[in-house]
Amino acid sequence: MAQGLLSSYRITVDAPMSRLPYDEMRLADGGIRPHYQSFAEWLGQTPAGRIAQKREEAERAFHRLGITFAVYGEDSGTERLIPFDLVPRIIPAAEWAMLERGLKQRVQALNAFLHDIYHEQRILAAGRVPAERVLGNTQYRREMRGLDLPGGIYAHIAGVDLVRAGEGEWYVLEDNLRVPSGVSYMLENRRMMMRLLPELFATQSIRPVQHYPDMLLKNLHEVSPAGEDAPTVAVLTPGAYNSAYFEHAFLAQQMGVQLVEGQDLFVQNDTVFMRTTHGPQRVHVLYRRVDDDFLDPTAFRPDSMIGVPGLLAACRAGRVTLANAIGTGVADDKSIYPYVPDMIRFYLAEEPVLNNVPTYQLGGPADRGYVLEHLADLVVKEVHGAGGYGMLVGPASTAAERAVFRERILAAPGNYIAQPTLALSTCPTFVESGLAPRHVDLRPYVLSGKTVNLVPGGLTRVALREGSLVVNSSQGGGTKDTWVVAD
């Protein structure tokens, strides 16, 4: 029966794309890629009933555990499941080795950039990045000027979104250096797969990911304020009504550290303390999942109820380390994205291993002219947007939608960048009618402490609607387990 799933799996051209997308499992001639052989065999041998049963088990388990992701703007706060698909996204080891090199390189350069713009600003003086883009950026925090951070690290946790457009053809879609999320899904997906389909792990050598929390904790210890032997680490969460709360609680528990909210902390003599049943206890490192703006009502937004008064002062006094540091947002801004490959050359004197998606900047007349001519072929994004909103997907738009967007562009061209539509790779995914190709991306998590490290793989997000390129969970995307296998 399951053999039918495989044989009926067809890769098709999504209108209005013009070429067959790269499929992670199937070759153009219908053959199975070597790293998917083992899985394909299992699919062929397993009765459809068992697969259906496993899919149901996964859904029930996730629901029972209350793993949910509140969707903004939908029946405020309703709990909904992020769909998990049973088919893993498999990456051969050699390919991962290349990605890993490129990711480490990129994050190192980004951290060097952040250190530089808050100190000597050499890259601005050299004219490699327009000063206005950095210093005029709302995410640039003057309060961080001249402050020396432990290890010079700003982005301790970076989520770099990657897409594959063809054989060996990978692009970085965007960097996430503020409060990147999703790693809990990566960990829970692996745990789920091992529980549901242990036989798959017996036949292949799949590199483990469960050590992520240990790696993270080690890094956080390494960036503690100077002279601390046994630093206290805590995770700062906005609270249970935040859409990523499950992840905050999960990571705190996995690392064995306290999960705190703003109200649990207070600052005295520039030192951060937790309110405990035994009296105040000092905090040295705070893994904060609260945005810069809401961190400290005395320094940033005064209406923030989830911050800690005096936290910025404690940072500046070097009495507490925040991960990620305040002010990293300037480096993951879409207007800075085009300059990242050059940062690698400038700070590391190396050629980038990973490329950006070719990007047009609409602030410049030449690029703008080209883009307005070819709106139907391009994806146009707002520079300050997030989560897949405020975007025009040219090939999927109507003439009316393009006309409206044209007006928005002309009103504020500097707010937009455009990129060619990439034929994102597809991965087999369970749908109503069986197994079908769906577009996927990849978000590996890069950790920086004394060294830069990653667990193999990352979070694979899948666009569940046929032909859709939008993988964000807040817009109906799902996730898969990601496997890096030894060839």
């Binding site: 029972r64 249970a240 609680a249 528990q253 309110r275 049943t277 035994h278």
Partner: protein
Amino acid sequence: MLCRVASELFWMARHIERAENMARMLDVTYRTSLLPYQVTEPGLAWAEPWSVPLITSGLATAYYRDNPVLSAETVLRFMILDSTNPSSVYCCLRAARESARNVRGAITSEMYEDLNTAWLEMRRYDYDTVQQMGVSNFLEWVKMRSHLFRGVTFGTMLRDEAYHFIRLGTHLERADNTARILDVKYHLLLPSTADVGGAVDYYQWAAVLQSVSGFESYRKIYSDVITPRRVAELLILRDDMPRSLHCCMNFIHETIERLGEDHSHSRELERASGQLHAQLHYGRTDDIIDLGLHEYLMDFLERISSLGDEISRVFLAPSY
């Protein structure tokens, strides 16, 4: 542990215990409402017993704000399903689950799953489904969910600070609620004074005992003659009776002493707790009867409430 977390755990435990005791209270009322009753006020036929849970829980004012009429149905709706009554079974289960959700790191996953399941099931009930199921059966379900939660907690939780705050909340609430259930009898009218010691009196006391699962225990210890004196002794002073005030205070005092070990500001709390414990540990039944059972219980409720406030001041919401 974080004060906020201790507070959530404490109140999570109190809410589950309160839901259970609400069910027990309604159970007494339901049983006594089946007894023959002399109408003492026209228009209140068969409704009198239903005023008792409102009075003893201190909810009469809230009830009469929206419900001019007293009837079995309206009281049951109010105390089981009303989302605006913070002490309703519905609100208690919701609050317990919310607290658990807020402190998931401090409890085992089995505990959270258990409360989550109880809440999801509660959400599906409305008055009609409760009636269909049978009021007694529904109340039994509430008690069972509480037993389950206690079992899961006792069976899976590390004996850490979180565990102790949960036990503290459970026993504080149990002591308070048991005193209120006992006080029910004071408010239950007998058709006439001549009926003291008669059949109705017996059944009312039996109902009180059954609601705290003490009927069989009573018979084991005292044989079948139910007297107020012995009920008071069993449910207030005997520490081998798990729901007695003495037994609850044993746990409360022991837990407060344990939690106060590393604490510099818990002297007054330990003293107050010790004093109330001693009152029960060394108390005499005669003294309770002489004072009057109702008066004794009222005094106890006040003291247990002060204890709750002091616990909050010391552990849950201290000011620095």
